[in-house]
């Protein structure tokens, strides 16, 4: 079997990688991935004033007719909230805004005024979705931020769509959250698990073989910004409206889909010390890295192989 072919580009404010098992099918696969990501961006971006999500956010109190894609994206986000008892909550949008994360990360200013007031996260239960009518309604004062799950959903959908058209195995990585579909390479997809998805293949970490579903990593070491002299990161604890306390610097989880892997890795960062037992109870293979670098493995995550 030939080596997988690779294509890199930027989408949804992050780096995107497409790998295919059949190099002759790279272009059709990339075309499908680009099309899917454009659809997701138009539907669910918090940073595009013309996105459907922003229309919903600016129509608080009113049921807004939206595309089936945004309905699905909101339902996925609400499922994430339900399955994590609110640890991964899409109603953190206003808190993100107050903390200064109000535009594409690459365009954030280097600093801003100190955060004077904390924003209480309203809670996902207040969001109403009518799948049959295709409407979403948020109450006044609520802003949705689907960032935690929409990117993972986009990876799942793009990989599935690309594999169906290309007729071969496809891996799609969006900022390090990856989904695979179709027949994998003989040994599986070789993935380097590390702190920063943009780090090279030899960065500190571990290489694992992925056969199906998804793998996601959440980290407090990247996407950090300073605001009012305080250094912040993007994983918010909905109970405080502030960045989660750093117990783990990085958590990687393998699951049946990229969405489930992302939900688990994000929630694990927020759950802190309770995360290993929670992941173990779900049977999710996970690798958790403490700030000083030592590693905790649960759910059947393999030990490192000597190089």
């Amino acid at each position: 079997m030939r080596d997988p072919a690779r294509h890199d580009f930027r989408a949804l404010g992050t780096g995107c990688v497409v790998l295919v098992t059949d190099p002759t099918r790279l272009q059709p696969a990339v075309g499908e991935v680009r099309a899917e990501l454009a659809d997701v961006d138009m539907a669910a971006s918090r940073f595009r004033p013309d996105s459907e999500l922003e229309l919903v956010n600016h129509s608080a109190g009113t049921a807004v007719g939206v595309s089936p894609l945004l309905v699905d994206a909101v339902l996925v986000a609400l499922r994430a909230a339900e399955l994590t008892d609110g640890d991964v909550d899409p109603t953190v949008g206003e808190a993100m805004q107050v903390l200064g994360y109000d535009r594409d990360f690459g365009h954030l200013p280097t600093d801003g005024e100190a955060v004077a007031t904390l924003v209480r996260v309203p809670g996902w239960q207040k969001v109403e979705v009518d799948r049959r009518r295709g409407t979403v309604r948020v109450p006044s004062g609520v802003r949705l931020d689907l960032g935690a799950t929409a990117k993972a959903l986009a990876a799942d959908r793009a990989a599935t769509r690309a594999a169906a058209v290309a007729g071969c195995g496809v891996l799609v990585s969006l900022g390090g959250d990856l989904a695979v579909a179709g027949p994998p390479p003989r040994r599986g997809w070789e993935v380097r698990v590390t702190d920063d998805h943009a780090a090279g293949p030899d960065a500190e970490g571990q290489t694992v073989l992925v056969q199906s579903g998804g793998l996601a990593t959440s980290s407090t070491t990247v996407r950090r910004w300073a605001w009012g002299g305080e250094e912040l990161h993007h994983v918010l604890d909905p109970r405080t409206g502030r960045p989660a306390e750093v117990v783990w610097r990085t958590v990687s989880v393998a699951a049946a889909s990229c969405v489930d892997a992302n939900i688990a890795s994000t929630a694990a960062i927020i759950r802190g010390n309770a995360a290993p037992a929670w992941l173990e109870s779900l049977g999710l293979p996970a690798r958790l890295v403490l700030p000083e670098g030592s590693v905790v493995r649960v759910g059947g995550w393999p030990a490192e192989e000597a190089a």
Binding site: E190, V193, G213, A255, E305
Partner: protein
């Protein structure tokens, strides 16, 4: 008074006709009811059926789009309806290689 034999015959034929119509209507109603019960008891795979019908009647470009849309819709629907986070269907294994792609924070 003895009824006219022809009138008796006509009355008999009308009764037979009514019984026949009733039997046909009852049979149809029973068939419908059994069909509904069977459909509810043994749910089908309408997506696959639709997909295969589409595959046999469209050109390759349309076929690919239909396949990808159907596959994507099925995958997303499954994701929104699962009641627990789903573990992978394989055992994650380690490798001594350097990896073709990185999973990390972004």
């Amino acid at each position: 008074m003895t009824p006219d034999p022809i009138a008796r015959r006509d009355a008999g034929l009308r009764r037979i006709s009514a019984i026949t119509k009733g039997a046909v209507a009852g049979g149809l109603a029973l068939t419908g009811a059994v069909s509904v019960l069977a459909a509810r008891s043994f749910s089908g795979t309408s997506t696959a059926a639709t997909q295969s019908t589409t595959q046999s009647t469209t050109q390759s470009t349309t076929q690919s789009t239909t396949q990808s849309t159907t596959a994507t819709t099925k995958a997303t629907t499954a994701t929104t309806e699962q009641q627990t986070l789903q573990a992978p269907s394989y055992s994650v294994r380690s490798s001594s290689g350097s990896g073709r792609v990185s999973s990390g924070g972004s």
